[in-house]
Amino acid sequence: MKHLNSFSVGALVVLSFGTVLVAGCKTKNANPFPASSAIAGWEKSSETRTFEPKDLWQYIDGDSEQFIQAGVVSAATSDYKYQGQIEAVVDVYTMGGPDGAQTILERGQAKDVQTVRLGDEGLQYAQSVSFRKGRYLVRIVAYESSASTPQALMALAHGVETNL
């Protein structure tokens, strides 16, 4: 819990990206996004973008409403690339509480979903991994499918989970 609280403070800083330096926080920021090469084969290929609920439509359009109804507090996203070939996006939604994360995670599951050990509950498909941990909901989606995609996505997901 101490770690989670520490992250909560850090998350506020990270999710207010432009004000991180202004805030002058000297504590170590808990950033959910693994740095390049922190996970074997994965490079962080974009800056982290953050959205408040009122701006979330700019990123996910109509999807934003279900997140708002579920109590989203903020969202952050970053692109990644695996071995220079597989492009993926990592979305981290900070919800008001675990219920909100669960509500979103349980929506729209397909028949071929597989449960995986990630956070409090994890789901995997051929090209995506989603999990919730506390009030965080994480969705990782790859744009290409290959034999190595599922394993690579799981490795990245574990990297994010560790940071939460």
């Binding site: 359009d61 109509g62 729209g108 397909a110 498909y125 090209q127």
Partner: protein, 335 residues
């Protein structure tokens, strides 16, 4: 097109040319020679559109477009068909906009190859490269389609409303308010609508009419009530009604659940283009296509999930009069 792969590459830094007069053309009637009373909608399919590697076959996309446009216009030769579209659209020697949809991000955005082929056909029909403007909300959306920003007016241009800005004046229609992109109001004499077929968590379906959300500054203001009457109201604004004349809907890849974002677990390949002028009729047909797929995979219909696209009927009502949603009044041609 000789430079198809190159025409959007190497973004130039030329100044954006603004200030072209708005040109409100008369109502287009590309299908006038045939059944006047029905809205014509073409669905052109090619099951082999995606290769074994899962990628679109560029040559086949071109052939599919040619078949669709030939069926729609009744003109067998693509150059003749596109000349007809340009002239009837009131866009001869004027700027033609190609409005894509890249909001869903890479993987579920209007395919660049479709844009390339249309741009190629327009040029073959005599349209100067500088009179072709590929556009969307912003650079990110365009890049999601696989396009490259270019503002050099001597070449095919590609940029978003983040470059052009929006009109200062707020316009009103019904209960809706909007500030329109200057690309629509000042640049384009005619717009060819290039949406991509998707499920939508609020409106049920996002396709021909809802793609117009990308031409206003604050589309989020139009999302209430399952986007009803927002979608219908928006399409009823004169500038859209008069300039957005032809829809070439990208149904080569689609998402039948979890949209409008990229959800690979719900992705499928209808391998189709859907062409027509009546956006209401097109959306009505698109609704049926989505529902059919949903049922095939064991999902409830959009109506059963309480997400029916009610805006379609609203758009067809007497107040909006944007088109027809009565299936009996739609001439659907599947090729």
């Amino acid at each position: 097109m000789k430079n198809r792969r190159e025409f959007l590459k190497g973004a130039a830094t030329g100044a954006l040319i603004l200030g072209a007069e708005s040109s409100f053309g008369s109502t287009l009637a590309l299908d006038r020679p045939s059944e006047k009373d029905k809205a014509k909608v073409i669905i052109a399919r090619d099951p082999a559109l995606h290769g074994l590697d899962g990628k679109l076959d560029e040559k086949r996309v071109g052939e599919l477009l040619d078949r669709a446009i030939a069926a729609y216009t009744g003109r067998k030769h693509p150059v003749d068909a596109w000349k007809h579209i340009v002239v009837e659209g009131g866009a001869k020697d004027k700027v033609i906009g190609l409005k894509t949809n890249g909001l869903g991000g890479k993987g579920i955005s209007t395919h660049a190859v479709l844009v390339f082929v249309i741009a190629e056909r327009l040029q073959q029909a005599g349209v100067k490269p500088g009179n072709i403007l590929v556009w969307d909300r912003n650079a990110r959306d365009l890049q999601a389609c696989g396009l490259t920003i270019n503002t050099d007016p001597s070449r095919i241009r590609c940029f978003g409303s983040d470059v052009s800005g929006f009109e200062d004046v707020v316009e009103n229609w019904g209960s809706s308010h909007a500030r329109f992109s200057r690309i629509l109001t000042r640049e384009c004499a005619m717009v060819i609508n290039l949406p991509i077929l998707k499920d939508h968590s609020m409106s049920g379906v996002t396709f021909a009419m809802k793609n117009m959300y990308g031409v206003v500054e604050r589309p989020q203001d139009l999302h209430a009530g399952g986007c009803n009457p927002g979608v219908a109201d928006l399409n009823a604004f004169p500038v859209i009604r008069k300039k957005v004349k032809l829809t070439i809907g990208d149904a080569m890849t689609s998402v039948y659940e979890g949209g409008p974002g990229f959800r690979p677990e719900h992705l499928w390949q209808p391998n189709a283009l859907i062409v027509g002028e009546d956006r209401v009729a097109i959306d009505q047909i698109a609704w049926g296509i989505l529902d059919k797929k949903r049922v095939e995979v064991g999902l409830k219909t959009l109506e059963a999930t309480e997400r029916p696209p009610l805006y379609i009927a609203t758009a067809a009502d007497e107040t909006h009069a944007l088109g027809v949603n009565d299936r009996q009044r739609i001439k659907l041609i599947e090729i």
